[in-house]
Symmetry: C2
DNA sequence: GCGTAGTACTACGAGCTGTCGAGCACGCAT
DNA sequence: ATGCGTGCTCGACAGCTCGTAGTACTACGC
């Protein structure tokens, strides 16, 4: 897939947190703490779209941007991608299991159990 | 942490596959298919050391390089890092669980069960 | 003393990312 | 119709990383 840059991630975070599609201007307002030129936001939104992280639809003259996938899907994909890097997936998975906290292990266990039932 | 480049990963792969620490020359020989200048290999080994992926110890005039961590640990760390990126870890974990193949789910389940026993 | 192996330092081009400016188009108020 | 504000597209540039390598210095064996 490919990792995201600093600003790219911030913008994805904003869009992931939103339930509706936003225009560049709206994103710019939400990221106001960084005082970016409007074109900067547009450029990044454009690049994210080109990379497939966002979809955009027309709204009058403006575009509205929305995430192409949920953050969870993205994170899960990153994790699977990391997993693909190893020769010994079993060892890596075991390591990983040891690395998650107790409550999270519980969540994983539950998710796996549900899988089993299907 | 940070991702590795193409060549960096190839070199890590070689060192991970090896049980003993190697010199730059030896790594170069093992990666011969790419016909790299010896200095190229040295530079990359140096950068990997600087980044903390390798340790090196003197062997006469030469350095011997060995991975600072196992590949599994690295992969597991990448996975945990990805997981840290999300707000809703539970959702991401569930997604992830759905993404692993059947046999791998089994491995995970086993690893988690062992955890529970401790 | 000289060649060889090995090191450290420096460099350069490509690609990615953050950051914008310039220039063009369209619609609304005057 | 005229101009301001909004929004777009293109192009640009600087900083950093990575692949790739040359050069210059050093130490050891013959």
């Amino acid at each position: 897939m490919k990792g995201l840059g600093e600003l790219e991630r911030s913008i994805m975070d904003i869009l992931w947190a939103q339930s509706t599609a936003l225009t560049a201007r709206e994103v710019g307002r939400l990221i106001a703490d960084r005082d970016l030129a409007p074109t900067t936001v547009m450029t990044v939104l454009d690049r994210l779209t080109r990379k497939g992280f966002l979809h955009r639809t027309r709204d009058g003259r403006a575009w509205r941007y929305a995430p192409a996938a949920t953050r969870d899907a993205y994170v899960a994909e990153l994790m699977l991608e990391a997993l693909d890097m190893t020769g010994d997936r079993s060892a890596a998975l075991t390591r990983f299991a040891q690395g998650v906290s107790g409550p999270e292990a519980e969540i994983l266990r539950r998710a796996l159990t549900e899988l089993e039932d299907e």
